[in-house]
Subunit: 322 residues, 2 copies
Amino acid sequence: MLIQLIGAHAAQAPRLRALLGAGHEVHPLERLPAEGPIRADVLVTTRLTEEEAGRLDSRLLQVPGAGLDGVALDALPPGCTACNVFEHEIPIAEYVLFTVLEHVLELGALPDRLDAWTWPAIHRDRPFHGEACGRTMTLVGFGHIGKEIALRARALGMRIVAVTRRGQPDAAADRSLPVAQLREVLPETDVLVLCCPLDEGTRGLIGAAELAAMKPSALLVNVARAEVAEEEALFEALRDRRIARAAVDVWYRYPKPGEAECPPSRFPFHDLPNLRATPHISGWTEGLMERRYALIAENIRRLAEGRPLENVVRAGQGREKG
Amino acid sequence: MLIQLIGAHAAQAPRLRALLGAGHEVHPLERLPAEGPIRADVLVTTRLTEEEAGRLDSRLLQVPGAGLDGVALDALPPGCTACNVFEHEIPIAEYVLFTVLEHVLELGALPDRLDAWTWPAIHRDRPFHGEACGRTMTLVGFGHIGKEIALRARALGMRIVAVTRRGQPDAAADRSLPVAQLREVLPETDVLVLCCPLDEGTRGLIGAAELAAMKPSALLVNVARAEVAEEEALFEALRDRRIARAAVDVWYRYPKPGEAECPPSRFPFHDLPNLRATPHISGWTEGLMERRYALIAENIRRLAEGRPLENVVRAGQGREKG
């Protein structure tokens, strides 16, 4: 089979070749051709426009990530199946725990260097910091990622509030409620974690009114998609200290291939001292890649052998290609 | 009763007064008198020399911390009982988890600012970071603190090795072994946490040979007492990258009251880029103080009412003062 890996994922070609062994052609490709048919048995990419989907001649669109907002699923040819992969819930949960502990430890209140002069001064007047234990974490989204975060935050002694579309109770949370009642828990929330899919129900969910309802001591962590929090409202809330701090790993603008200049936002988030800004790396680990490409290789073998695929997000119709 | 709070703990006098209510005199005191008898029903201090202990006329020496290495217990007058308090295991465990996650996240490999120029560059070549999940944490000391750390590290998916004097098995650890066999687990240890008491069995326990046996990628965390790790050997191992990183909260020299200049070590640890150096704050939280002084107030009430004291570390002999 011919497998094409596009863009950032082209670098994974040696790994996929090693996993698949002989009998498959794995081609890295910096970007998709600008015109003409796109032919490959399997296309591995997180980005596919409607126009590109219309030119696709493939049996499997394998998204090497969880988010499907970059691929035009509805425009795929009828015979093409689309699958995704997860496995990022472990490193994302670790990232969120880091941001919580960074927030409560307040190491920024200490001197940068511990030397002969700062040590006696700080030892005399050591400032108290906070504890995660006993604090309330509200998770907007309680899927793969939210549950892994909750598991770890509970071990820290945090109280967990799960906010989901329907608010069905879940043993992994101390309280569950539907997103329509989010406003109600914001005043008691110490850490608000956004870890939901981006859709019409979550776009702009956290706006000026929601941020104003939060504690001035609160931390907001966004590992979902930037647009779940309104760009201007979040910037202003941090600038004006309506909330204490944020950790943001997902951004309002992403660079196109080859683009050398691209601000992550219309607003100067990089000037805010109370923001931990990371470049979409929360899930980006060597362990993630190992686990994901093992699953992708397995799906390619399944396709080759006519077995059912895993993590199907859009089933192709009609018979398998002869 | 007359209660004296000494040194750094003098600042807690209002809290203790509020907890005890009327009927007690709570006196803050910057330092103990240089000569003459030290008279108080209760003395609250973490520092008491042999000479000072000889001048003490008290029924209760209440140490407002866990460590007893600053007080000359053996030199106390026969009728004086000594008690300590814990409650720092929660914030210390949170500190250790923070240092582990800081180590695996490797945020130092990212640009300091996420702006229009760094964002496209880093998005194109995002470096992978590590995961705590699946890594081995070896805890030297498995008491109050070690167990709280293990509980949280296990929720992160870490494997726990407990090193104690006798190495008795413990359900909270995946493997237990006596300190005499420490060397054996160092090559498989990703995070080595020192959280044991300082005594003749642990002083200098981590020396050049132990550091050389560790992985070059390992993290060492010291929340015990500085001297558990040999000063020069630790400095050299970090400087020469024989281990990747350390987080150190306890130091080789502590300033005396009024001393304006005091290096935390004979070696320039503050010049090491691969060290997180903190000024003995890992357990230093508002929550800690609330919990500790609630227990201290309770012990003072017990003393006043002739009830048994809590957390007795050295029982006073003879009858209660008439």
